[in-house]
Amino acid sequence: MNQIADVWFFNQGWEPHAFQKQAWKALAREQSGLLNAPTGFGKTFAIWFGILHHYYDNKAFQKKKDKLKTPKLHALWITPLRALSKEIYKATTQVSNDLDLDYKVELRTGDTSVSERQKQRKNPPQALITTPESIHLLLASKGAADYFKHLEFIVVDEWHELLGSKRGVLIELALSRLKVLCPQLKIWGISATIGNLDEAQDILLGKDHKGVTIRANLKKKLRIETVFPDNLEKFPWAGHLGVKLLDKVIAIVNKFQSTLIFTNTRSQAEIWYQQIIMHYPEFAGILAIHHGSLSDEVRLWVEEALHEGRLKAVVCTSSLDLGVDFRPVDCVVQIGSPKGVARFLQRAGRSGHRPHETSYIYYVPTHSLEIIEGDSLKYAVKEHIIEQRIPYIRSFDVLIQYLMTLAVGDGFQADEIFGEVKSTHCFSSISREEFDQCMKMLLHGGKALTAYDDFHRLVLVDGVYKVESRKLAMRHRLSIGAIVSDAMMKVKFMSGKYLGSIEESFISKLNTGDVFWFSGRQLELLHVRHMEVVVRPTTKSKGVVPSWMGGRFSISPDLGIAIRHSFKHIQKNAGLSEEIKFLKPLFQEQQRRSALPGEDDLLVEYIQTRFGHHLFVYPFDGKLVHEGMAQVLAYRLGKIKPATFSIASNEYGFELLSATSYDLDEALVKDLLSPKNLHQDITSGINVREMARRRFRDIAGIAGLVFQGYPGKPMKTKHLQANSGLFFSVFEDYEADNLLLRQAYDEVFDFQLEEGRMQLAFERIADHRILLSFPDKLTPFSFPIFSESFREKYSNEDWQSRLETLKLQLEGKIE
């Protein structure tokens, strides 16, 4: 019944999967839907042949098509990644070529040239493969309504990935418009498995949709192995063990054809690359590095080389999490906690793509205690524990950008757009008043225009809001999108060869002649000019590794559940997993020095050292929640007796250090950890304002309050340089009820403090027995947190040697 698919699959010698046939059937019935399938099983073809079938075999559409003189845009395929767009483009173009179809597919991403884009505007292909931002750019051009009028399909690939970000809001808004412009539109989402798949579908297809859900119930074999060190360190600290396991990682790499080594941060990737090359020089040429700050050229080269099987291993970050299949890859190594079950599974799935192949993933803990996560991950995978993607709601910054986008394009009528916007999940709770406040910002630059003020942005012409200033329109087109990046500096060789970009804040700490590691090379800084850093390769003394902002995320609630489950077993003696068995001596040491928490215990340790009084609490709720809890506790303790605290935390617990001592007993600790008045104590105890100020940076960028400058050029717009922190203060002083300001606070409570999660944690703890102990010295549990607090005080080397000395003292080897 899908002849095109039948012919093509026959020619390939393939048998379609059941889910593919199901999808073709649904598409032939002109239904919308969501396809839940892993990568590497032909999910693209499951949708694509349905689209082709419609174009060539749908009877009603044939009549429409005959009336049109030139081909019109028939399908839009949206992906979150340029690399993925290219992959889809290749696959779909191949089908048209193989079958000699006149169905034209074109790419439209940030890389597409201006002339190419103009051509696509005048003579659209049948299908465009594009990004959420590009759709908005099309909406921001004159004649957008005509351009999209004949659109039949819109496919959102990797919808789970977009859903939890403001790019998801861009999709929701674009769909709300396109649904009205083209009533015939069929919407399809493709998503990996997430905890809230049904919600994901509702958000994409809209309230009361009649779409179908198609699941590719394909079982894929997965093998998870934890890599153990030879000896167990009883006083573990972060970042230390990983590189010690280098030899073991190389032994694994050598067993397989091609391995992806995932790290959590870009700096970690640089360090691992450097260490491998240093200790195993024979890897030069067959080992590569891939992360988000490297130039497109470097990344494309790595991706090509991976495809062709020319690389033995690639050290990478989340930049290779998504999409594209690298067939030769048959093994994945995860360095450090993956922080989430879904991320772990996604990465595991990068190896052994083909059906019936086994995916291998090796978990390399970076400190002793992290070994337990091997047990937790296996448990989570077995029990199908998987994270939800929490969609953004009430993102007024994106709404303001969208209104500008429409005004720059064909213009809009406020009533009509309000209705459409309100139909989205993100803005379902928006009131007309709030919408009007957004409008006022664009119309009057705030509440109202005063006599002398010459603010201008939107104008009303015949009931339609428009942007008349070409300069403003141009500036807006350059600012479309929901990803705000830091001021980045380009790293280049003297020859002009571009290596990638590094945050300005890192470069500003370096002087001429300093050496740093980047792009897997040792580089010497020659000079900095405008936003460019000129470097040359060097063999000079060892350098520093740049640290990038971001990428420091906390474990997910779901992995938290799995970790707490693992810790339930630490007191048992039989039936233990290899991870817990291995860690037994550490737990015994913990028991000897302090206490080991049982299933419903919360361990609290109060230790005095020469640094002061340390209060350690171990809720196992993730760093983010711990940071908030610690501040609430500090606030509550401060009410008893004023004191200054130094706070440190990791994924397992947190520490409050102060010079002031408290008379702690179980009842007091119970009170300190009570869920009563929590919201109030969060509000008064935590510097929410500072957090909101940081959040406001992205919000201001997205809403168009700050302009990042023209691409590749330093800010030329005279006297318009200002940071969002300044604007934050201006709003606070002059317009405290501003929607964007409120949004910043809401985002702090929802995403940063994760107030909901914190509330749950306090409630859970309320049921726990408090196990309060007063050890003489630091314990295996407390040591890693204790050493975290050092990290911020000392430089890397100093820090390490100091810790070594301290460790010897702790183990009683020196006084």
Partner: protein, 219 residues
């Protein structure tokens, strides 16, 4: 609480209002006010609130009424950019002090054409020199005599002070180094350029209503 410095026997007061005052000359010095900044952004379509001008003028006004002042030197960057209505409001305000002589040592932001200055009692100069060897300019001047103290603005100096409990504060400050005294920006909506405390410089941080010298080892 102001901080007193002395130069060739002349008393100079660093005020917590982010201004400098020399009683003998009844001279008040203000730097980098950047008036009109928010208006400039608004004119370009950035929807930030308007500045509360009255509040701004009052900050100068209260100094002028509480101190004996016969001359005010603006050390440049008085107005942020091209003309907007905030300039006219400012010049109207200056007219309420006919007894005071206003001088501007022109800065890089002061790009208003001469005719905008014509109507008011604001003398625009490149620099201003006092007999005691004080030289006022927007940016530091090179080749000054060793006996001179160059009083400048331009960079908006600030300093970071770390206290126990791993808390840090970023504060505006006066910065003295190599016979150049840099004033903090008077403007409310200006950023800070962070200066590190070294052995050869002196930093005077503005802490609420006091000006406190930053000790070598931090506070």
């Amino acid at each position: 609480m102001a901080k007193k410095l002395s130069w060739n026997g002349l008393d100079i007061f660093l005020l917590a209002q982010k201004a400098l005052y020399i009683p003998v000359h009844r001279l008040l010095v203000i730097s980098d006010w950047h008036l009109g900044k928010l208006g400039h952004f608004r004119k370009e379509g950035f929807f930030i609130p308007q500045m509360n001008l009255e509040e701004e003028f009052l900050r100068l006004g209260s100094l002028l009424t509480s101190l004996e002042v016969s001359k005010v030197v603006f050390l440049g960057d008085l107005f942020h950019s091209e003309w907007n209505y905030e300039w006219d409001a400012f010049t109207d305000y200056l007219k309420t002090f006919p007894q005071i002589d206003f001088v501007l040592t022109r800065g890089n932001h002061d790009i208003l054409p001469a005719e905008r200055f014509g109507t008011i009692a604001l003398h625009v100069v490149n620099q201003l020199v006092l007999a005691e060897g004080l030289v006022f300019s927007h940016e530091p001047l090179s080749g000054l005599d060793n006996s001179c103290l160059n009083i400048v603005g331009h960079v908006h100096p600030g300093c970071e002070i770390a206290v126990r409990g791993r808390q840090t504060f970023r504060l505006p400050c006066f910065h003295l180094e190599d016979r150049v005294l840099t004033l903090p920006a008077f403007g409310r909506w200006t950023g800070l350029y962070m200066i590190r405390k070294k052995s050869n410089n002196r930093l005077f941080a503005v802490v609420n209503d006091a000006v406190i010298e930053v000790p070598e080892s931090g506070l």
